[in-house]
Amino acid sequence: MSVLDIRGLHVWFDAPDGRSAHAVRGVDLAVRPGERLGILGESGCGKTTLILAAMGLLPSFASVGGQVVLDGIDVLCDGEKSARTVRWTHAAMVFQGAMNALNPVHRVGEQIADPMVFHKQCSRREAKERTREVLGLVGLPASVARRYPHELSGGMRQRAMIAMAVACEPKVLFADEPTTALDVIVQAQIGDLLYSLSERLGLALVLVTHDIGMIAEHSERSVVMYAGVIVEDGPTYEVLTAPRHPYTRLLLEATPVVNRDRPLVSIPGSPPRLDQPITGCAFAPRCPHAFEACAVRPPLTGDGHVAACHALTQGRLS
């Protein structure tokens, strides 16, 4: 039984001039309760769009196809109404810019309590009690509740956001680049916190990032996206040490690693434009192994560790 089940998801962003960008081009993804999943990819590959769609948070100029079932609720079928039911209580999200996600004119404690009052119909008093509890859970002193966001450091603000996210006991926590705006040491602290919360609360964690190190340490399963599709999906350790898809391989070679002396490579070319139709494998124009078969879109193949690549299935990759 999956806590999040995405089937055949497509997302188009419609521009006013009639063109539209096909940002997510058919994604199937199931997440088990308590699973820690990392979604890896460069900017523009559709990873953020995918989780926004799962939360029903896409803007009005987006059109969506497919199905998203979150904790038994069909998110897309009922428009804003079902999405509202899902948010905070079944799934919550931690955003990228911790600096800007909190409202500067309200005390941190009130902001953490708000979704509880709104969704769980618990009283302000109870919510206040629970706020203390969740602040402790994320390693902040209870006194933070009375502070304003500007009085907190970036790391503390991100912790407060995480406290708000877990306050209503959701089943799934989405984290969109939760550490990008933070310092190295704080990044590691926040990553560790997300991991331990997921372990203690049995929370499924969906971690969206372009940071391979973040995925390596804080998820057991990794999904690699390219141009709106999943190109590889498997146990994190395998994906990072024995990558199958040529894109994953190149991405790993482009990433600097401490304590290892090897030249860095860059991937030639750039990702395809999403406002023009893509036929076949989207990575083929940049792929060193591309051949005739790549004109047809490859399916995800394999057992447990899957990848979408013709060269792989035909044994052309070493």
């Binding site: 310092d183 040491i185 590691a188 991991y195 940071d211 391979i212 190190g213 690693v257 860059s266 991937i267």
Partner: protein, 352 residues
């Protein structure tokens, strides 16, 4: 005062550089008739960069690394100390001669999406410096220098790229345009402030490679500011680690990364995520980044240091050769890592 201009072997020399910012006096300060607090962003830093060398300056935000680099270009007022660029003291130049110095030392910003004017074509952005410094006499000469700079950063054919607007370029191409805008002035020093942190992983290597080529082929000295030790380890000759306004460790890139001496450097390296999972989550990373306006006595790292002793709370450690583990090539500011304090003669202060 040292004799400025006396055959200095280094391209950039920084001696005892301090940058302090006065903070606004708080109400409590005024009521207590105290003077306002001072943020000691950079406090007594000694450093040099050679021609053809890439020095990486590593630290958290608030460590003073950007302020140090800006002070070296005199883009922020220097409180005390000297900065010698090609033998001339940047801190004492008049405004007029500062302009010619700035031509020699160029800054590359972090965010190529913000550093380029969206309304200017690439050729106009690149030519801006030439015009300000009045370096070309004809439109023809300007064109050829702009094209040469674009070719140097790998934007070929230069004729095509010159006519484009920033929105038609990828992030990596934009950063190349920004670098071309610096190169066109023929600098000897490039200060790059987090030049790849806004870029996607797949194109970072290309920009780092470009910096490496410029260093080797143009003999540029490069001061690269970064918070990413892994990137520093890949491209830098030497790495300087800053904490709370001071250098805490300085040495060859490999030995700083493979055998970090200072507890702070060790903590930074422990924070870098790895693919191999065993050591994950056994680490402890205590504390919050420092606040430049509240300087602890003694070693500035002692409130977060797992090894701090009584001495660390009182006595400020000097930057001295490490006692063990790095073949004496690394200098470190830590009481527990340096040899007996008698070797103080090692400090670069020839003028006794």
């Amino acid at each position: 005062m040292s004799a400025a201009g006396s055959a200095s072997p280094h391209l950039l020399e920084v001696h005892g550089l301090s940058v302090h910012f006065a903070l606004k006096r708080s109400l409590a300060d005024r009521m207590g008739r105290r003077s306002g607090r001072v943020a000691r962003a950079v406090d007594g830093v000694d450093l040099f960069v050679d021609a053809g060398e890439l020095l990486a300056l590593v630290g958290e935000s608030g460590s003073g690394k950007t302020t140090l680099a800006l002070a070296a270009l005199r883009l922020v007022p220097v409180t005390s100390g000297t900065v010698l660029l090609g033998g001339r003291d940047v801190t004492r130049e008049s405004r007029g001669s500062l302009r010619s110095l700035r031509q020699k030392a160029q800054l590359v910003h972090q965010d190529p999406y913000a550093s380029l004017d969206p309304r200017l074509r690439v050729r106009e952005s690149v030519a801006e410096g030439l015009r300000i410094h009045k370096l070309t006499s004809s439109a023809e000469e300007e064109r050829s220098r702009v094209h040469a700079a674009l070719a140097k950063v790998g934007l070929t054919p230069a004729e095509t790229f010159a006519e484009r607007y920033p929105h038609q370029l990828s992030g990596g191409q934009r950063q190349r345009v920004a670098i071309a805008g610096s190169l066109v002035l023929g600098p000897s020093l490039l200060v790059a402030d987090e030049p790849v942190s806004m870029l996607d992983v797949s194109i970072r290597a290309g920009i780092l490679e470009l910096l490496d080529t410029l260093r080797r082929e143009e003999r540029l000295g490069i001061l690269m500011i970064t918070h990413d030790l892994a990137t520093a380890a890949h491209v830098a000759d030497r790495v300087a680690v800053m904490y709370h306004g001071m250098l805490v460790e300085l040495g060859p890139a490999r030995s700083v990364v493979d055998a970090p001496q200072h507890p702070y450097t060790q903590m930074l390296i422990a924070a870098v995520p790895r693919v191999q999972r065993e050591e994950a989550r056994t680490r402890t990373l205590p504390g919050e980044p420092p606040d430049a306006s509240r300087v602890p006595p003694g070693c500035r790292f002692h409130p977060r240091c797992p090894f701090a002793e009584e001495r660390c709370r009182v006595e400020v450690p000097a930057l001295l050769p490490a006692a063990a583990g790095s073949q004496g090539k690394t200098v470190v500011a830590c009481h527990l890592r340096t040899a007996a304090p008698a070797v103080a003669a090692e400090t670069a202060d020839g003028s006794a």
